[in-house]
Amino acid sequence: MMAQTSTVARGGGNSSAPARRRSHRPPRRPSGLPNWAVPYVLLVPGLLVIAILLLYPLYQMVDMSFHKVGLRQIRPNPQPAEFLGMQNYSDVFSSDLFWTSLRNTVVFAVVTVALTLILGTLVGLLLNKLGRKMSTFLVVGIMAAWATPPTATAIIWKWLFDSDAGVVNWALNLLPDGLSTLVFGRSDWSGQPWLNAPSTIYVVLVIAVVWASFPFIAVSVLAGLKSIPSELYEAARVDGSTPAATFRKITFPLLKPVFSVLLVLSIIWDFKVFTQLYVLAGGTTNREAFNLSLWAYTEAFSAPPKMGFGAAIAVILTVIMLVITAVYVRQIVRTEADVR
């Protein structure tokens, strides 16, 4: 990573230490394994766990997506599943719900990832400015939001946005009428339903998800900031750099690898948000509010279960995420290569 690279450039430090130790390690191999085999043997347990818990289900999902799978096909003493070829996929693509779900998924991910990263970075910068005690206090506070289970998060926000008893409508009603009309074009918020129309459901969803995920970004950014040598900032100050310029010229370039990783993780998390949407949309009756995850779930598990069809949707979602992740991982690798 780049942060480490910079320490290497300064002539040593923690990150280069393990490499040196490895090269000077005395040759002792009680196991008798050839040197090259040791890492592979050590990797086997981990790989096995991944294969059983991740790769096999993934394979099953892809396999199911080519078959017509209902309950008869997966219960004990299953009947053989009928092979459909690409039919599940063509059904997915020709369904009206696919396009609304895809739009909801993508728009939500783009907005939420952007907001999470911006807010997280700003809070991270703030935490770095604070003294040790205040900073610890705040970190503990925001990590509580991050540690809240998604269901609890969603229920809390659902209550806050309740049309009649919610604190949000109450607060909006407290605004001076003129201001409220100027900003929102209305002054009466009594009974405003937030969780009917997809657009407002997603407004609440974005808020709920950003609220729960920015702390992770903030703390990661804080950790990255701590690794930037203070000499750089001192030099910037001596040269009379503005805070914005300092961020653009020093902080951002040095934290770019951190941002890349956080970006990929956020995209993956936000693309497949499920729990919060399920709770906020009030189950699976509101089809216009489906994203790909909720749609796949509904098709696969509501009577009559169409698990092959649901699996096809899940495969499409997986492929979209793999493509995005692959592009970004390549970019990260390339950036690292450039630096070297």
């Binding site: 999902m61 309950l71 998604p150 339903p193 189950g283 598990f301 009559p304 899940a314």
Partner: protein, 445 residues
């Protein structure tokens, strides 16, 4: 939290995989009947065994007592223990799905009679034709009450209690505000408006159900206006949603929220369980449900909304010439096809739905008993009279195995209603679109 998120969102994958994985080891060889099978289950023949029974709904004191008595009697007869699990109605479909997929299900389960066809199509229920023919009690249940349970000449469930829907209302509020039980649709709206006006804007005068079981609440309005959902004509299902009768009822139902404001706009996806919880919290004046909710609400409100504050009236038809036809529901008891011991399950079924416990099941659960002499007593009971009255004109939903998909999974009419209430479509467009979709779903293979 992230792991929670990941876990939840990959649930699809994971559950599918578990389901498939579970197939490998579970293939039990068919049990050969023990020689003793012919001996009547008089002694503790099944001592040490446990039978898993799924009951639907939320348990309350009366029902818990009923189950305790039933299970004690069962133990006396067979020696087997009973493990009762309560499944909330709206979760039932998902629980059965999971049970079928995972192979870990009940031995005996309660069932909504309109759901039997769909689950027989999924191979979930055991054929009990022989059991019903050999049980003398079951011969007393009138033949026309076995309609939902008989598929291709075979019986898959025993009717347990007859149910229909009426309107549960806050009697104390009606008395306080001087409202009479509505006799026409106009009076219904007027009563709802008065409740909202006096009890606060966050109270639903007449709660709009737009959740998973919305059609229970919508159907009386469309049926009493002369409409219906679909009819089987010329070998296929033909949607009837665009006909004037259906439109009139649907329009009235959506207007409850959109025009009359007797139900809050922010609660379009609440189902009957959500509404009953709000009722228990004093936030609902009237809603369509069955008799079983009284006991549950009393318990949930910790006695604050007691029996003296609740009563039922039959939903009237538009002009007030009689009760509107309500959903002819009812609960069944069935043997799960994967039951570990089908013989023991059969004993339970015979006991539970037999005359003694079958009648008591209906009475304790706020349902109509199916044994004719017990039902006759109901006409004079003030609490049960609205149901007995409505039961005479009750109707059913389209008897297609695919109805569950239109009703619940695709939520065709719930989405149409939402589009109308939010002003995205007019009633004609919404119903035309819904009709096309309903036909596609009902006619799929």
């Amino acid at each position: 939290m992230k792991f929670g998120k990941i876990a939840a969102t990959t649930a699809t994958t994971a559950v599918l995989a578990i389901g498939v994985a579970a197939c490998g080891g579970d293939s039990e060889p068919a049990k050969t009947d023990a020689p003793a099978a012919s001996a009547a289950a008089s002694g503790p023949k099944f001592a040490g065994q446990t039978l898993t029974v799924w009951r639907l709904g939320a348990p309350n004191d009366v029902q818990t007592k009923y189950m305790t008595d039933l299970d004690a009697k069962f133990k006396e007869q067979t020696g087997a223990e009973v493990n009762v699990q309560w499944i909330p109605w709206p979760d039932a479909q998902k629980k059965w799905t999971a049970a079928l997929a995972g192979g870990e299900g009940p031995d005996v389960t309660e069932f909504g009679n309109d759901q039997v066809a769909a689950w027989v199509a999924q191979d979930a229920l055991a054929d009990i034709t022989e059991i019903t023919k050999s049980a003398p009690d079951f011969q007393q249940i009138p033949q026309n009450l076995w309609g939902y349970e008989t598929i291709d000449g075979k019986i898959y469930a025993a009717p347990w209690g007859g149910g229909t829907r009426a309107v549960l209302y806050r009697k104390d509020w009606f008395d306080e505000l001087g409202i009479q039980a509505p006799k026409t649709w106009d009076e219904l709206v007027a009563a709802g408006k008065k409740i909202v006006e006096k009890k606060g804007k966050d109270v639903d005068g007449f709660a709009f159900n737009g959740g998973s079981d919305a059609n229970m609440s919508l159907s009386p309005f469309v049926w009493s206006a002369g409409g219906d959902f679909a009819a089987f004509e010329g070998g296929k299902w033909v949607g009837k949603l665009t006909e004037p009768g259906f439109k009139e009822g649907f329009q009235f139902y959506t207007d409850l929220v959109a025009k009359d404001g007797v139900s809050g706009k922010g609660r379009l996806s609440q189902n009957s369980v959500d509404i009953s919880q709000r009722f228990a919290a004093g936030k609902v004046g009237m809603y369509v449900t069955g008799g079983w909710d009284i006991a549950t609400i009393k318990e949930q409100s910790k006695g604050k909304v007691g029996e003296d504050k609740m009563a039922f009236f039959s939903l009237p038809n538009k002009e007030g010439s009689g009760p509107a036809p309500a959903f002819q529901g009812g609960n069944d008891i069935a043997i799960w096809k994967d039951a570990k011991n089908p013989e023991l399950a059969a004993e339970y079924l015979k006991l539970a739905a037999g005359k003694e416990f079958g009648t008591r099941y209906a009475k304790d659960g706020g349902l109509l008993p199916l044994y004719p002499d017990a039902l006759a007593e109901y006409a004079s009971d003030p609490v049960q009279a609205p149901f007995a009255e409505t039961f005479k004109v009750a109707k059913g939903f389209p008897a297609s195995p695919n109805w569950a998909e239109a009703n619940d999974t695709k939520a065709v009419l719930q989405n149409a209603a939402r589009a109308v209430i939010e002003g995205k479509k007019n009633v004609d467009t919404a119903l035309a679109d819904a009709n096309t979709e309903l036909e596609t779903i009902l006619n799929q293979q």
